[in-house]
C-alpha cells in the first residue's frame, strides 16, 4: 500500500477517530469573534473568551449525555416494557 503525503487545503484530514475534539477550536473561534463585539472594554477579554468556550463545550457535553440517556436508557427501558 502506497501512502501519499497529505497536501494541506487540498486533501481533507482523516478525522474519523477524533472529530469531536475539533469542536473545541470551533467554539474558541466563535467566542473570539462573539466576545469582540460584546465587550465594552478589552480588559478581561481573554478571560471572557475562555469562559464562553468552556460553557459552550460543557453545554454540548451535557446535550450528548442527555441524548445518550434518552436513546440508550429511556428508549430501551420503554422497549423492554
Amino acid at each position: 500500500m502506497i501512502l501519499l503525503a497529505h497536501r494541506p487545503f487540498l486533501d481533507p484530514l482523516n478525522v474519523s477517530s477524533y472529530w469531536f475534539v475539533l469542536l473545541a477550536p470551533m467554539c474558541l473561534f466563535i467566542s473570539i469573534a462573539w466576545k469582540a463585539i460584546r465587550v465594552r472594554s478589552f480588559a478581561g477579554y481573554w478571560r471572557e473568551v475562555v469562559v464562553m468556550t468552556a460553557q459552550t463545550l460543557l453545554g454540548m457535553v451535557a446535550l450528548a449525555v442527555a441524548f445518550y440517556l434518552l436513546v440508550e436508557v429511556f428508549v430501551r427501558t420503554m422497549q423492554n416494557r
Partner: protein, 157 residues
C-alpha cells in the same frame, strides 16, 4: 445611525468595518475569529468544503465571509475541478484521475507520482469543514450588522 461604509468594509474583509470606525482591536479580534474559522474549515475538510455548485445552500452561508469565499470557490471550480470527457460537466476528480492543462480528466499514472488535483472530502471531515466555513459566514454577518449599527463610539475599544 446606519453606517453603510462600515457594513461594506466588514463584508470585504472581516473586521475591517470596525477598524474603519476606529475600533482597531475589535476589528483584529473579529478577523481572527472569522478567518480562523474559515481557514480551519478549509484545513480540515480541504478545498472541497467550499463548493458553489455541489453545496449551494451551504455556500450561501460561506459567501458571507466575503470575497475570500468567492475566491476559494473560483479557484476550486476553475483550477481544480475536471471536465468530464463525456458530458463536459465540471466535477471533482476521481482518485485515479489527473487534470490536463485544458481542464479535462485523464487517467493518472501513479508510478510517475501523479495525483489528482485534490481529494474529495467525505464523512466527518466534510461535515466539519463545511460547518466551520459556514459558521464563519454566519459570524461575519453578525459582525457586519454590528458594524452597520455601531453605537459604541464613545466607549473605549
Amino acid at each position: 445611525m446606519l453606517q453603510p461604509v462600515a457594513f461594506a468594509l466588514a463584508f470585504l474583509i472581516p473586521g475591517l468595518g470596525h477598524a474603519y470606525l476606529g475600533q482597531a482591536r475589535r476589528g483584529v479580534m473579529i478577523g481572527i475569529g472569522v478567518l480562523g474559522l474559515f481557514i480551519s474549515g478549509l484545513f480540515i475538510g480541504g478545498v472541497d468544503s467550499v463548493d458553489r455548485r455541489e453545496d449551494f445552500f451551504w455556500f450561501l452561508g460561506q459567501a458571507l465571509v466575503g470575497p475570500v469565499a468567492f475566491g476559494v470557490d473560483y479557484y476550486h471550480q476553475n483550477h481544480l475541478k475536471v471536465t468530464d470527457p463525456g458530458s463536459n460537466v465540471p466535477r471533482s476528480p476521481r482518485p485515479n484521475e489527473k487534470r490536463l492543462p485544458d481542464g479535462t480528466a485523464a487517467p493518472l499514472d501513479a508510478s510517475k507520482g501523479e495525483r489528482p488535483p485534490y481529494s474529495k472530502s467525505l464523512g466527518r471531515a466534510n461535515e466539519l469543514g463545511t460547518l466551520y466555513t459556514t459558521v464563519a459566514g454566519m459570524m461575519n454577518l453578525i459582525c457586519m450588522i454590528d458594524a452597520a449599527f455601531n453605537r459604541r463610539k464613545a466607549r473605549p475599544a
